[in-house]
Amino acid sequence: MSSVEPDGESTGLILHVQRLSTEDGPGIRSTVFFKQCPLSCRWCHNPESISAQPQLQWYSTRCMGCHSCVGACPSGCISFGPQGFLLDRARCDGCGACVEECPTNALELLGRRVRVDALAEELAKDRAYFESSGGGVTLSGGEPLAQSGFAIALLQRLKEKGIATALDTCGFAATEGMGQALRSTDTLLFDLKIMDRVSHMAFTGQPNELILKNVLLARTLREAGETGARLWIRTPLIPGATATRENIVAIGAFIAEHLDGVLERWELCAFNNLCREQYRRLGMEWAYAETPLYDTSQLDEISGWARASGVDPSRVAVTGAARAAYSRTEETRRS
């Protein structure tokens, strides 16, 4: 399973499919979470999606201690210590034999290889809901374009079936692949995280020139009529990283200058800490484990910066943890 198939267009590695997703673009959607991401954002909320390899995960609360997994592992890399399940991750090749034997699903393999045609057929099962809602399929992750051949093939297959598509991307992808993907994309959910080059490097492990180049490409292709993709910019609000006044204003200024008339929505996605346990299960440290959630007044303040940044204020939306409370505040203020 560890080697990438020579024919990248026919199969890909995904985490899972989330159906009736209401947060990943317009309408009712099915979201395909891809494995693998070129960035390594310090706050990453889907740590299981970074690696290009399938990863084994153990849920202590589900384990009944039958140790079926120990015997099932062909490379003998599973043992049990005082804290429970122990995995020699260096030697585990993600074959999944232990997962198959585990009676309680305490072991899960993150990442499964799927064929484009089988996946597209599975996704088409919710066509009735896509059509009734103006929704469709969203490719997310991880970074879908890290497996660009597979992602493009999937987008094309979905379009052939008449299913609307969305691409949720961090933007750090080869321009050629981005361009090809956009030609089969109806909604582009594009992350702009940090405008400052150095800071971007520090927090995500990569520079941002390519990302900015790609978002401009989206505009160019739109203007040339080569893609009809609606554009949503998404900015995760991470305390001390992205959610500074300087950064939000800078992103806003960039949008106002370059994406005016193309931007449909700028989503500010509030920080959340639901992935804390996920880090623990993967045996990883998380720098934000103790970071508190935003309260409504903080979100209010941040969105205020965005609204004043030069972007059409009606395009700014806040999603996430405190949103329900936030909307109420908004309603109260308007009334």
């Binding site: 989330q18 009736l20 990943d24 009944m64 039958c66 079926s68 929704g135 997310s140 804390r276 329900a324």
Partner: protein
């Protein structure tokens, strides 16, 4: 980044009470509503009163109608004795005992309602017709009573048989009251005078040799019954006039004078105004409950926003204030709730249970597919919204491909504001497909046609019937499909012999099921399936026979001549509705434990045949031990075997196979005494909870004592792919494979009665207009891909707390807080607390 919404199936009863409060109520309605909810503190109520012919053998309580409520079995002797002891004597006509039974019953009820029961009108009430909960004499002669008792309480009687079937996990069956839509529009149009004339004509038309026969007796009984409402209205008219004389309030005096005038005209004559129509409807309706001695058991109104519309429009045109129209409806709403007064001093909540179901249907499409939503639909929705929370009448809103956006928007708003659906949603295309199927299979293509099928409506909980001419025994037979799996695993024996909890006596080990042999000899799953099919045939026949025993007794001894006047077919045939007089008269077998059965068969196939994780001996041993000591095998069954409800085509094919098998068995049967064809449905009422303690452990990993699956729903927690996958699975078992890439056009339905389907959503799914629009779109998608009826619950903080305490039951509960999702039970306690706090917050 992820979206998320979670779904599991749950019973509405498990949902904590909604925090919604009533709004926009006038002082009149506020008072009436508060007074109603003051319960036993009220000076007035509608508690059962009992009435006797005065003979030593007389009794009132008819246990047949309670056979489908196993919790009551042990109380039968007490109920019978209590009503008998408290019964007041009615002076009989000197010729009483020379009359036929239908005449005696009709005369007795009429006498009680119009001479014996007090008539009152509550302050401010705009509708007359208060007391109707009565236990009237069975009116049997000593010879008839002895025969009844021999058949019912005798050694080989129905009581023992029904108890045996329940104790051994087969289910239950009994000839039950209500569960139909009387022909109310006919009363509104022609009055009881019109019905009376029809009966007279039918009597005259009888050939001379039949003038003294059974049909003539039945029609004479109905003729007596048809005068009841007129006589009762006259009494209430007098009450109104007395109150006019007493009142000092000129406005109230005007109202009372109008009420008196209404009562002088209806229900004997046709209605012309809206107020008259509602008055006529109520008096006519409440007397059915009197006639059946049962408060509101699925006695339903049908498409009330359609047949009341002409009166509504006429009155509005003549100057009726729209709010007065709603006020009249609100009074009607209060009256419906007084059904619960029957047992007001018994049990919790002052006798208010969810067991009644005076259902009404709103909106829906017309014969040519066009939407029928109208101004009265909206007014009634406003009434529901303003009166809620209130239990009766239970609204059912019909949706279809052409339902207007505004209606869906309103429904979703109401769902969002009450933590769940204040009504049941019915889906026309799927429902009508089922009705047309039953017409084909039962040779009723003249009665149910493409041109009139859109007139269908639901009764009770969600059971589809035609209005005015259809009694289809929609809750009368409740079959536990899972029993057939048990019998297959043992070759026809109970897996664990039944031990009587009172006597401690254990059953002798005898084979009752089909002799399908030792299952350890089955080499393939197909052999196992063949044995299952034989056992399925056996259990179906067993319940059909059980039903026959009470159906035949009811047909002989318990006529309801008043109700028979309101069911088309009874006059023409001169047959009581209890004798199969209705033009359309199915008996519905409601299958219980569907998903548990499907998942059990999938588990047998997976564990024994595909995966070879155990032998058949080991599996049977584990089940006999209730899985104790076999935990690993149990976990494999629960977690590794495929499950229905995930939109997994292979698992759903098994579900479809189970569905085709049991429904085709059902269509093989007809009652012998009344010639009623059996038809399939899926309801489950609360049996899926209580029978979980009766049925042995099942191969799907369920131990005895754990809930079974509910109606059409996947097993609790099995729908790991969310609501769309859940709905698609349901659509597949009803309508087969998709016709076109992912869209299952609603042209087929194996369950004409309909099937109950509940989906729970996270309340955040309705937290703002954007998400409410997505929920509405989900309903439109459901209309194409899902079942015939849907109930929506919102997962609330209470459920999350329960999930925190019992994580094993909520493994697949996804919580969405932002663009990410997590399994609720896998995040730490403190995070769970945060999510609970947020979820509680999000609702306000």
């Amino acid at each position: 980044m992820a979206g998320h919404v979670a779904a599991t199936s749950r019973a509405p009863s498990e949902r904590p009470h909604a925090i919604k409060t009533p709004s926009n109520l006038s002082p009149r309605i506020t008072w009436l509503r508060d007074y109603y909810f003051s319960g036993t503190a009220r000076a007035w109520n509608n508690e059962f009163t009992s009435w006797t012919t005065g003979t030593p053998w007389d009794f009132q309580f008819n246990e047949l109608t309670f056979y489908i409520v196993p919790e009551t079995y042990t109380f039968f002797p007490t109920f019978r004795a209590a009503f008998r002891q408290t019964a007041r004597r009615v002076d009989l006509d000197p010729h009483f005992w020379s009359w036929s039974l239908p005449e005696r019953r009709a005369w007795f009820l009429r006498r009680v309602m119009t001479r014996s029961l007090p008539c009152e009108i509550l302050p401010g009430d705009l509708i007359a017709g208060a007391r109707f909960n009565v236990m009237t004499s069975t009116c049997l002669t000593s010879k008839e009573a002895a025969e009844f008792d021999r058949l019912v309480v005798g050694k080989a009687g129905t009581r023992q048989a029904v108890k045996w079937a329940h104790d051994h996990g087969y289910g239950n069956a009994g000839a039950t009251s209500g569960h139909l839509i009387p022909d109310y529009p006919r009363v509104l149009k022609h009055g009881w005078r019109g019905i009376t004339q029809e009966i007279e004509q039918a009597l005259e038309a009888l050939p001379a040799r039949e003038k003294q026969g059974r049909r003539a007796a039945q029609l004479r009984g109905m003729l007596i019954a048809a005068g009841t409402a007129r006589e009762l209205a006259a009494r209430y008219e007098a009450v109104c006039e007395n109150l006019v004389a007493e009142t000092k309030d000129p406005t109230r005096a005007r109202e009372l004078r109008q009420m008196a005038r209404n009562l002088s005209l209806v229900p004997w004559g046709p209605s012309s105004t809206f107020w008259e129509a509602v008055q006529s409807l109520w008096l006519t309706h409440m007397l059915v409950m009197s006639d059946e001695n049962y408060p509101g058991p699925g006695l339903s109104f049908g498409r009330i926003d359609q047949y009341l519309l002409p009166y509504w429009q006429r009155s509005l045109a003549q100057g009726m204030d729209r709010e007065l129209g709603k006020e009249i409806l609100k009074c009607f709403w209060i009256h419906c709730n007084t059904a619960y007064d029957a047992m007001i001093r018994t049990g919790a909540h002052q006798g208010i249970t969810a067991g009644y179901g005076q259902l009404l249907s709103l909106s829906g499409r017309g014969p040519d597919g066009h939407d029928m939503t109208n101004d009265l639909t909206w007014a009634i929705l406003e009434v529901i919204d303003e009166m809620s929370p209130i239990l009766e009448p239970k609204p059912n809103v019909r949706l279809h491909r052409g339902s207007p956006d505004a209606l869906l928007e309103k429904l979703v708003d109401m769902i969002a504001s009450s933590q769940g659906s204040p009504f049941l949603l019915n889906f026309d295309e799927r429902s009508e497909a089922g009705m047309l199927l039953e017409a084909r299979l039962a040779g009723l293509e003249k009665q149910i046609t493409p041109a009139n099928v859109a007139d269908y409506a639901s009764v009770g909980c969600l059971e589809n019937t035609m209005p005015g001419n259809d009694r289809s025994g929609t809750v009368d037979v409740n079959l536990n499909l899972l029993k057939a799996v048990e019998l297959t695993l043992t070759g026809g024996y109970d897996l664990v012999p039944f031990a009587d909890p009172m006597t401690g006596k254990t059953d002798a080990v005898t084979r009752r099921g089909s002799g399908t042999g030792d299952p350890t000899g089955f080499r393939t799953f197909e052999q196992f399936w063949a044995a299952y099919a034989a056992q399925n045939r056996f259990i179906t026949k067993l319940l059909v026979d059980l039903y026959e025993s009470s159906e035949s007794v009811r047909a002989r001894f318990s006529p309801t001549p008043y109700l028979s006047c309101l069911v088309r077919g009874c006059i023409e045939k001169g047959l009581d509705v209890t004798q199969g007089g209705a033009e359309i008269g199915f008996v519905t077998i409601e299958a219980v434990t569907f998903a548990t059965t499907v998942d059990s068969l999938l588990a047998v196939k997976h564990l024994v045949y595909d995966r070879a994780a155990c032998t058949m001996e080991e599996l049977v041993a584990a089940l006999k031990d209730n899985w104790v000591g076999h935990e690993k095998l149990q976990a494999l069954a629960a977690n590794k075997a495929p499950k229905y409800g995930r939109d997994d085509n292979e698992a759903d094919a098994m579900a479809r196979r189970v569905m085709e098998l049991w429904t085709s068995e059902t269509w093989r049967h007809t009652t012998r005494s009344t010639h009623r064809q059996f038809r399939p449905g899926m309801l489950s009422w609360n049996y899926w909870v209580s029978d979980g303690f009766v049925l042995a452990a099942s191969p799907d990993g369920r131990p005895k004592g754990k809930f079974l699956s509910n109606a059409l729903c996947p097993s609790n927690g099995a729908d790991t792919n969310g609501p769309t996958a859940n709905a698609n699975s349901v659509g597949k078992v009803l309508a087969g494979e998709a016709e076109k890439d992912g869209v299952r056009f609603a042209t087929e339905n194996l369950l004409p009665n309909g099937g109950s389907h509940t989906i729970s959503f996270n309340p955040t799914m309705a937290r703002d207009p954007e998400h409410r629009a997505k929920l509405a779109a989900f309903l439109r998608g459901y209309a194409r891909n899902g079942g015939s009826a849907l109930q929506i619950n919102m997962i609330d903080a209470e459920m999350l707390r329960d999930a925190q305490a019992h994580p094993e039951s909520y493994r697949h509960l996804l919580v969405r807080v932002t663009g990410y999702n997590a399994y609720f039970t896998t995040v730490g306690k403190e995070l769970q607390d945060e999510i609970i706090a947020r979820e509680s917050h999000a609702l306000r």
